[in-house]
Subunit: 248 residues, 2 copies
Amino acid sequence: MDAHPAAGKALNIHQLRTVCSSCSLRELCLPMGLSRAEIEQLDQLVYTRRRIKRGETLYRAGDAFGSLYAIRTGFFKTDVILEDGRDQVTGFHMPGEILGMDGIGTEAHACNAHALEDGEVCVIPFARLEEVSREVRNLQHQFHKVMSREIVRDQGVMMLLGTMRAEERLAAFLLNLSQRFVARGYSPSEFHLRMTREEIGSYLGLKLETVSRIFSKFQDQGLIAVQQKHIRILDTDGLRQLLAYREV
Amino acid sequence: MDAHPAAGKALNIHQLRTVCSSCSLRELCLPMGLSRAEIEQLDQLVYTRRRIKRGETLYRAGDAFGSLYAIRTGFFKTDVILEDGRDQVTGFHMPGEILGMDGIGTEAHACNAHALEDGEVCVIPFARLEEVSREVRNLQHQFHKVMSREIVRDQGVMMLLGTMRAEERLAAFLLNLSQRFVARGYSPSEFHLRMTREEIGSYLGLKLETVSRIFSKFQDQGLIAVQQKHIRILDTDGLRQLLAYREV
DNA sequence: CGAGACCGTTGATCCAGGTCAACACGCCGC
DNA sequence: GCGGCGTGTTGACCTGGATCAACGGTCTCG
């Protein structure tokens, strides 16, 4: 801690830490592809952060929609719950990803977003985002891309749920996580699962016992090493072949 | 046919038929909620139509993305195909719905869009849409809502594929179609399925035999009357209860 | 209007994954 | 350090829907 910060420069350390232009995730998040000047315009609208503790919700289905949230740190899940209690995890979300776009259409959130570990999000007031993106062409386009990619991601999940067998689903899940960890500078082959077997199962349309069994099977086959939530991928190609493999 | 159209007024019958402001779907489609003046600005960018014959594709996965498409007439399906040939129908689409948003993120389409019957779409050049929506606040917002609703729709499909049993899936499917037909002024209880059992199965993550069997079962139970592709819903509440019904 | 290709239905059988049950292993607070 | 609870593993068994197979209906196009 600087006892005597140089005047001016250090004045806004807190703000500096808060803005997109100095954020280490800017290459993954909404500012992706924007120029320095454009990111500075983004800075003007993203000035609030929110800390979420593990187990807490960022928003719930039915909550009035007002903002999007960019994940800064922590791991989140989104889910939808039916009246009868069945729930479907619709996604796991990492730093740099945007949450809350489900709320735009109806002014109310359609799903629940939970923190799987303590984390922090940047609050992006949506009306302001629309305002600024009317002026910053690239921001507008970038935001459209983010939404579009969410639609494509969802199609991938449908494919997984609709056509794949249990082993393929798990393999696809692990490879997808691995890829996303790499993009964030983490190891592609060794990571900590923040979610339970039940949550993985819900996401993949499987029961927790099945998830557990297949992890054990993959371990027996030398594809991965599992120790509770700690996963090490030993044979990426082997996992890939599980996906590619088809009788004909 | 007017042999002697009144001068002036009839000059642009073709154009009149082409613009959003005189389109009967404007309450469902992109112009939803826009003022007369705003819709006229939309007219300036939507001036091309494209006819698609049954069985033809509107676009294919990998095609360069340039435009969105608003369905004017006809029934479409979108699907994703894996290298090994398995395919997943990701949606069935009716007049007033927007196709192509999957392409924005990567500049290339991520799925295939096929016409299930002869139809016509309005071509919406995407760069122009972004341009105009930078000027027309409500158009911008409306477009964001359309994308958001697509995301929410996808979450519904995930729920269906991930947590529902075969009968529930079919019941949900029929109720969803019924609802969308009503919104378009058609009968809620009697309609023609444009897709095959196999396509329904693909969408619902079931095999065509299962779809066929459950249709027969629903018929035996007096819930619906099926004759090939012609469906009559006899007991809407009965179908709803299939969804609501849970052991606890 | 007749042949052939789809498309849909139904029956018999099979099996992937669900269900139920027991137990093991952290991890927490006391 | 101990009891209890949430989480994960594994086994035995069951079942919903897949698979395989046969056949009937209907749309299409020459």
